[in-house]
């Protein structure tokens, strides 16, 4: 009898060891769109990083590094770029990755992404002289070719098979085949319930250690399961504490205190550059069609109250008097005095002097996005203290998204102001940052219009000298503050929480799941 039991125990131990290693993740939001080119949603981008690969990546020090590309060269006049792909790159269906796939993918990306569109405006043509080589011919020198190809955040120029990349850019793709370190288990996908990714055993990682979205993407687990059903913040904390899940991508700010206290949980800051908050004015209608009034609002909206109310945890936020990410090449405080060196008294004076006539500010507040939903309340209180009339309207985030695209007058379904958050790479330079575009109705929601700003941005796009680019960026920011394009509201991090048995987190602008070990 004892021998039988011992045998059974041995078998059980053996089979337990042979079981799949499953990483259970609670992502920061629901996954409802699987096409990372079609939408800028961060969930789609994170999904993209699982199943696709990129030509270049951005490492921890924000330098562009090759990923799918083995070597590349630039002609002396900067107008011809030639790239060679690494050997061994293949899609999940076995087909090798060729230059044709790359070109089709870049073209599709170039139709949707702002930086991609700008790049494509410089491109004369692209071709692939051999299957593993491709070339880009430019009309004139462009200062950000590699920055665009290695762009870490939305939209990321993921490489897809040509047949899939030929889907028109305004339709979603139906097939998640890529060449990345994970394979999307389509049969196991249950919307609103869970998404499953399986290790791609045929993936050939680079030799370097992983760094940011660059380096070797080695996978040490067999399955990653994204739990899409667990959306209640308290339940997420409970589940992590009990070990029912392994990682919480973005715990609610209020959850960090209890999580820190739990001895089985670690808080990991894998996205040190974090995010930046901003509130955006609608430049088409009163009161914010008046530059002086926008400046009064900027003076009233000090960053500290927003950060304290929304984030609360002191170590997680800091004021940043820049529209581009602080502690990155273009993050300088030039021109920000109107906001950073103001106080409520000054704001009140500016408002009086501007001739404000009491038009209420229609401020949209989302009720279902914990990460940003306190910002409008703080904005409303500060603006009221400055003398504005504020009409705070609550709606779910999807309604905000719909409404902010409308150019109607605020009283007829339009808006005057909304607040949101961007991850650092999406705003850290004047080309990627959608808020400093001032092409009037062609710009990002809010539609500011300023010729001088656009001239400066154009010059930046063409400039190839690093020092000159920096100076231009400072001028762009100064002008943007003068114009009052939007109000930057400081930066914060939202570290992930994980069981202590999970190691190997990679630093990046989003949550990356290679290199992770579950011990």
């Amino acid at each position: 009898m004892r021998r039988l039991l011992a045998l059974v125990a041995l078998l059980a131990a053996f089979s337990a060891g042979a079981q799949d290693k499953v990483l259970r993740v609670v992502p920061h939001s629901n996954l409802n769109i699987l096409d990372p080119i079609w939408t800028t949603q961060y969930m789609a981008r994170n999904h993209g990083y699982m199943v696709y690969d990129t030509l270049f990546g951005t490492d921890e020090k924000n330098r562009i590094q090759p990923q799918m590309v083995e070597k590349w060269s630039e002609s002396p006049d900067h107008r011809l770029w030639t790239f060679t792909l690494r050997p061994g790159l293949a899609f999940h269906d076995g087909a090798p990755v060729t230059g044709e796939d790359v070109i089709a993918s870049l073209q599709r990306w170039g139709k949707r992404d702002a930086m991609g569109q700008k790049l494509m405006s410089f491109v004369e043509r692209m071709d692939t002289p051999q299957p593993n080589t491709f070339r880009i011919f430019l009309r004139e020198a462009c200062g950000f070719v590699l920055e665009a190809l290695g762009k870490p955040s939305s939209n990321v120029p993921f490489i897809m098979p040509r047949r899939i990349a030929e889907t028109p850019a305004d339709k979603q793709i139906e097939d998640a085949t890529g060449s990345g370190p994970y394979i999307f288990a389509k049969e196991e996908f249950k919307p609103g319930d869970k998404a499953v990714y399986l290790k791609n055993t045929k993936y050939v990682p680079r030799k370097e250690p992983p760094s940011g979205t660059a380096g070797g993407k080695r996978v040490y687990v067999d399955r990653v399961e994204w739990n899409l059903a667990l959306r209640d913040a308290q339940a997420q904390v409970n589940a992590l504490e009990r070990g029912e899940v392994d990682i919480l991508e973005q715990p609610a700010f209020e959850s960090y205190a209890p999580l820190k206290a739990d001895k089985n949980v670690q808080i990991v800051n894998s996205n040190p550059l974090g995010f930046q908050y901003m509130c955006r004015f609608n430049h088409l209608y009163p009161p914010f069609n008046n530059q002086k009034i926008r400046q009064a609002a900027l003076a009233a909206m000090q960053q500290e109250p927003f950060l304290r109310a929304q984030v609360g945890v002191k170590e997680f936020y800091h004021s940043c008097p820049s529209m581009f990410t602080c502690n990155t090449p273009y993050g300088s405080p030039k021109g920000s005095d109107i906001q950073s060196k103001s106080n409520m008294r000054k704001a009140q004076e500016l408002l009086k002097a501007s001739g404000y006539d009491g038009t209420p500010v229609v401020l949209m507040k989302p009720t279902d996005l914990a990460a940003i939903q306190k910002l409008p309340e703080v904005a409303a209180q500060l603006l009221r203290q400055a003398g504005f009339k504020v009409d705070l309207q609550a709606m779910d985030w999807n309604t905000v998204v719909t409404r902010r695209a409308k150019k109607d007058p605020p009283a007829q379904g339009g808006w005057n102001m909304f607040c949101t958050a961007w991850v650092a790479p999406d705003i850290w330079n004047p080309i990627a940052n959608p808020a400093v575009g001032a092409m009037g109705e062609k710009s990002w929601f809010g539609w500011p219009s300023d010729e001088k700003l656009e001239q400066l941005r154009d010059a930046f796009a063409r400039e190839t000298d690093a020092a000159k680019k920096k100076a231009l960026a400072e001028d762009i920011q100064a002008r943007a503050f003068e114009v009052g394009t939007h109000a930057p509201l400081g930066e914060y991090i939202e570290p992930l929480a994980a069981r202590k048995s999970i190691t190997g987190f990679v630093t990046g602008p989003g949550n990356l799941y290679w290199n992770i070990r579950k011990n």
Partner: protein, 286 residues
């Protein structure tokens, strides 16, 4: 049997009267503006002292009797002012449901031709769970006091309609009504003069249950993020904002939860009492 001598009516009525009093007297019961906050005062425990910034920009010292929420707002003030909103929402939704239910019920019961259509529509509404209807109405239009009240009232209309309709069908057979018809009395006079008075008692009982349900439904809608705009304090809103840190700071959910449970309890008890005295037939069934 006198309504007021029933213990359930007395207890339920007394508690409700107290709540109405508290709601009306909220500004004088040591409260501050429930929308004011100061992030320096966030997450204080019940009884702790902190600061509030007024709209003029002054800072005022304040003792947070029930603690503060994650913005730094005073929960005591929010709960007291929230009493107003919750009671108003409950009452208005119930009245609205009763009003439309009576009209539809009278029409369905008295006008044979419209009976089929009206009851089909009512069946359709009853087929969909109340919460989903309410969420859909609020989410599809803007979240405001009006839309939330309408959203809560709509799912209750079919039950009232059925009640009124069945009463109408019964009363219609009564001899005095048949007499009135044969005398040529106008339909409207029959409906409002003869039939309606007989429905008051059961409707009153039904109304209190609807009111209780409405107050609970408002809390649930707020909990799911599709209720009243958060700058209007309601018990549901306070609990919704506090749910994230329920384990660490239970006072966010506890105090409004108690008020909510007591109010709904009082309304239900009142309803039971009214039913026992006014409509003994229904009392036997439930």
């Amino acid at each position: 049997m006198n309504v007021l001598s029933n213990w359930s009516v007395r207890i339920g009525g007394l508690v409700l009267a107290l709540l109405v009093l508290v709601a009306a007297a909220a500004p004088w019961l040591g409260t501050v503006d429930p929308t004011l906050f100061d992030a320096a005062s966030r997450d204080l425990r019940p009884g702790e002292a902190g600061e509030i910034t007024t709209l003029e920009g002054d800072t005022v010292k304040h003792v947070f009797l029930m603690g503060s929420d994650s913005y730094g707002r005073d929960i005591y003030s929010r709960v007291l002012y929230g009493t107003r909103v919750s009671l108003v929402v409950g009452l208005t939704a119930a009245l609205l449901a009763l009003f439309f239910g009576v009209i539809c019920g009278l029409v369905a019961g008295y006008l044979r031709r419209l009976d089929g259509v009206v009851m089909r529509v009512m069946d359709g509404i009853m087929a969909i769970p109340a919460i989903l209807i309410a969420i859909a109405v609020v989410a599809l239009w803007r979240a405001s006091l009006t839309s939330v009240v309408i959203a809560i009232a709509i799912p209750e209309i079919p039950r009232v309609t059925r009640l009124v309709r069945s009463l109408v069908l019964t009363i219609r057979e009564e001899p005095y009504v048949e007499a009135a018809v044969s005398l040529g009395t106008p339909t409207a006079k029959i409906m409002f003069g003869h039939i309606l008075p007989n429905t008051i008692a059961p409707l009153l009982v039904q109304g209190t249950y609807i009111c209780a349900f409405a107050i609970l439904l408002e809390a649930i809608l707020s909990f799911l993020g599709v209720g009243l705009p958060p700058d209007i304090p309601t018990w549901g809103n306070i609990m919704a904002e506090g749910r994230v840190q329920f384990v660490a700071y239970p006072h966010n959910v506890f105090f409004p939860g108690i008020f909510l449970a007591v109010t709904v309890l009082a309304v239900n008890i009142l309803g039971d009492g009214l039913r026992d005295t006014l409509d003994p037939k229904m009392a036997k069934r439930v």
